[in-house]
């Protein structure tokens, strides 16, 4: 379980970007995160991804308080998290295969096993023929798929996606959502940041709303629509 109790976050001595955020994510839970640009969604993802530590409050990741974790324990916990960054962060000098294989290699996977996982993933995403292609030669949509593949290839316990469907067509978006749903059914907690109301309404998962560093919700999509009416 992942739990945030009154979590606050500021960069250096700057203003608070997250304010008293409370959130609980259970195993296999699927939620959307909405809110205007600059509301703090990316910072929330960075805190959940253990890239930044909370300035205040308590963050519990997989039932352990991160404040009490050693550097090695934090590294081990990060391996249980997958993230699709808004700017994708693909490594341009590596092939699509090597980009996706990267977290497996870092985790000490064997080459044969890595080859199997990655090829399967690329095939499922329809990128089998682009195995050796480097990101700069791929379309934006293809790059987005590679970034998603890299985030899910380790079958993480927590999947954080920052606008994962923003650059792909609706057919591919549905396919990705199907993938996320399957992962969720297998026990991965999924949190997707999006501005896409249609997506939220279509899948009906609970929605969190972030504004000015404060988190509200979750509400289910039907309640959200009713509130909007």
């Amino acid at each position: 379980m992942i739990r945030l109790d009154k979590v606050g976050m500021r960069y250096g001595s700057g203003p608070e970007v997250l304010r008293e955020v409370n959130l609980t994510l259970h195993r296999g839970e699927f939620m959307f995160l909405m809110g205007p640009s600059g509301a703090g969604k990316t910072t929330l993802f960075r805190v959940l991804g253990l890239l930044n530590m909370p300035s205040s409050g308590r963050l519990t990741m997989f039932d352990k308080d991160v404040a009490t974790m050693s550097r090695e324990q934090l590294t081990a916990q990060r391996r249980r998290i997958g993230m699709v960054f808004q700017d994708l962060r693909l490594l341009d000098h590596l092939s699509a295969f090597d980009n996706i294989a990267l977290p497996l290699r870092i985790n000490g996977g064997q080459d044969e096993q890595i080859g199997g996982f990655v090829s399967e993933m690329l095939g499922w995403l329809g990128l089998a023929e682009l195995i050796e292609a480097k990101p700069p030669t791929l379309s934006m949509g293809q790059r987005q798929l590679v970034a998603v593949a890299r985030a899910v290839v380790t079958r993480p316990n927590l999947l954080l996606c920052d606008e994962p469907t923003s650059n792909i067509d609706s057919k591919l978006a549905r396919r990705l959502m199907h993938l996320f749903t399957q992962l969720s059914k297998l026990g991965t907690a999924v949190l997707i940041s999006t501005h896409n109301d249609d997506l939220v309404e279509r899948y009906g998962h609970p929605v969190l709303h972030m504004d000015n560093g404060r988190l509200s919700g979750p509400v289910v999509a039907a309640e959200k629509m009713a509130a909007a009416d």
Partner: protein
């Protein structure tokens, strides 16, 4: 699969994409070149000094002959008195007249032992080769008590060459060490710069669960690879220059009576310079990378 395979190893971080990193092997080449040339010159100078210490233990003082033989004898006594008071001189012995006559007989024949021809007197002087004896000054002191007294010319020039060798050895060792330290400092700077420039990728690797050691190894291997490339190139170039320097030095007899040269052991030690440089550079890259990563949450 593809990926970045350099020297059979993969690089997750695109460390060669910055201008500073691309220049690194060239700069290491230049610095290793300078260090090897400097230390090679130091070794050659040291060899010359050793050779001097083996040779420069004996000089001859010549006391000019005067019309009055007893005056010449007094000059010899005065010169011996001066020599025996000089620190570093271990012995000063006047060469007998009979011996002098035998020495010059091949040139002037029987005239040498007629007693009519005034002959200069000689004093053999031995000194401790490790002492800081200034032969030119000694000659000057002798001339104050015995006008016209001379030290063997070869001895004086040898002394000057020895000082030059000593000067070269000290300075070239200093230059060599400074250049190596420069290489290490440069790599530290490039590593720190690379950490900042590749911040996003470093963060990505750490987010995927890469321990600091994994990321640091990327910098370490990159530095090692560049150090090997630059070190080999720098050493080969320096070896060529050293061979040319020694060859021309011998032609010009800049070391006087001593032959300039490097022994096999010198070459082996010089070949260790790029190896030591590579190890230093690699260690520094790792230390800087670990230090930089340790500052991240």
């Amino acid at each position: 699969m593809s990926g970045i395979l350099v020297g059979g190893r993969r690089f997750d971080l695109p460390l060669d994409t910055t201008a500073a990193a691309r220049l690194l092997p060239w700069i290491i080449t230049a610095l290793v070149f300078l260090a090897v040339v400097a230390l090679g010159v130091a070794a050659a100078a040291d060899n010359a000094l050793t050779a001097y210490s083996m040779r420069a233990r004996l000089v001859t003082v010549t006391i000019p002959a005067s019309e009055d033989p007893s005056a010449t004898d007094q000059d010899v006594v005065r010169a011996l008195d001066v020599l025996q008071r000089v620190a570093g001189v271990t012995s000063a012995t006047a060469v007998g007249e009979k011996e002098i006559e035998e020495l010059i007989e091949p040139w002037i024949g029987d005239a040498a032992d007629t007693g009519d021809l005034p002959l200069p007197r000689l004093i053999d002087v031995t000194f401790d080769a490790t002492s800081d004896l200034d032969l030119a000054r000694l000659q000057s002191e002798l001339r104050q008590v015995v006008p016209g007294a001379t030290l063997g010319v070869e001895a004086i020039s040898r002394n000057r060459a020895e000082r030059l060798a000593s000067f070269l050895r000290a300075w070239t060792v200093a230059v060599g060490v400074l250049v190596l330290l420069g290489a290490v400092g440069l790599v530290a700077w490039v590593t720190r710069l690379s950490l900042e420039l590749h911040n996003d990728t470093v963060e990505l690797l750490r987010f995927m669960g890469a321990p600091d050691g994994y990321v640091a190894r990327q910098f370490e291997r990159h530095a090692l690879l560049n150090a090997i490339r630059g070190g080999i190139a720098g050493f080969v170039l320096a070896a060529i220059v050293l061979v040319l320097l020694i060859w021309t030095g011998r032609l010009m007899e800049i070391a006087g009576p001593v032959e300039l040269g490097l022994r096999a052991v010198d070459w082996i030690l010089l070949a260790c310079v790029p190896v030591v440089t590579a190890l230093l550079i690699t260690a520094v890259a790792r230390v800087i990378a670990v230090w930089g990563l340790g500052r991240l949450p």
